[in-house]
């Protein structure tokens, strides 16, 4: 912020950067990088005994 001071008056804040009101913000594209790989699921061991039940 730039502060403009004048003796006897309230200092006013002048922003250095403002959005251009005539520009319609573009929707940011969704990142297309592949998501991190999920850990491989190892099937639970099923005992012979249980299988035959």
């Amino acid at each position: 912020m730039i502060r403009a001071h004048q003796p006897g008056s309230q200092p006013i804040d002048i922003p250095e950067v403002i959005p251009n009101p005539t520009v319609v913000p573009k929707q940011e594209p969704i990142p297309k990088e592949p998501a991190p790989k999920e850990p491989v699921k190892v099937p639970e061991k099923v005992s012979h005994e249980r299988q035959h039940r």
Binding site: I2, E16, N20, P21, T22, V23, E33
Partner: protein, 344 residues
Amino acid sequence: MPYGYKLEDLLAILHDRAPTKADAVALDRRRVEHGLLSVGLKIHHLGKGRQFFSLVERLGGASNVLEINMYKHSQASLCLVLPPVGNARAAIALSECIERFTGCALFGNQKIQIQLCSPGRLDARRSALLAIGFYLGSDTLRRYALGDLETTVSRDVRYRRGQRLVIYDAGGDFDRGFEWWDRSGNGKDRLIRPQLPFENGRSDLLTGNGSRLDIENINLLATLLVHAKYQGYWSKLGEQFEEDMQSLLDRHLLAGLVNAPWVRTGYAERAGDMEFFSALQELVAYVFEESVRVKKKSSILFSRWHEIPATSSRGILHEMQSLLQKYRTEVVRQSRLHDNGGHT
């Protein structure tokens, strides 16, 4: 532009964290779209730049990558020069790969200053139109202090580039290997030359904390102006754009601004930093006032829209957006016409 490494090496490193985008840039790196100019970027980091250390190290270390280039923003700890690519989309994608690798946002970041490099040196008047067009068309309206535009070559005895938004290159390496759209002898047909028609020379623009839109806009504006100067395929459109810009500035009583020294063209001329800065300040003051008016107008638009006289100017900011839209559409339309076998 000295960068001390190859784009392929950079992309191989970036591939670790941004594989899809890095692959897309590798495919598109020489591809020229609609006859627009190639795009080079310089990333100035105004902080300590720690997030860039590992990238720089993997590219061959600071001595290879950073210190071979004495040029940077005066407040920057480092300036990473990126090899040029064939189109604005690829330049944006390359920046996004770097963002992902370093974890440092490059767009809209107060600590990052983006410099956009376009091939071809524009004369003083066209440099003024480039800078003014960029400023009015940007998604961010900025106030400047003169020191914001100070670089290590502003006062250097050899270069003396001054403190400007537009600065010329310092000679040295120049990548000509991008297509240049020309017109054939009959003036109707498009002739695609395999390389740029100039051996060196660039017009760079210091965007400050720039955006993706800034890169696209500057690429379009620089193309129109460089083609007008070097009689390229888009020269007629470029000349028409110059006239439109002049009329726009005339309507807002700002036509005199283009006479200020927006770029330092010669070595012998007087510095003119203050003269340029006064012109920039006038533009900034006009635009900030205009932005307040636009906001007020939009807030009453629905309640009292019928009271706004039909003849009132839509304002310089709206008019600039319309101009950019008009020329972007026209460039795409005419280039597609050719692709489909027609003439312009």
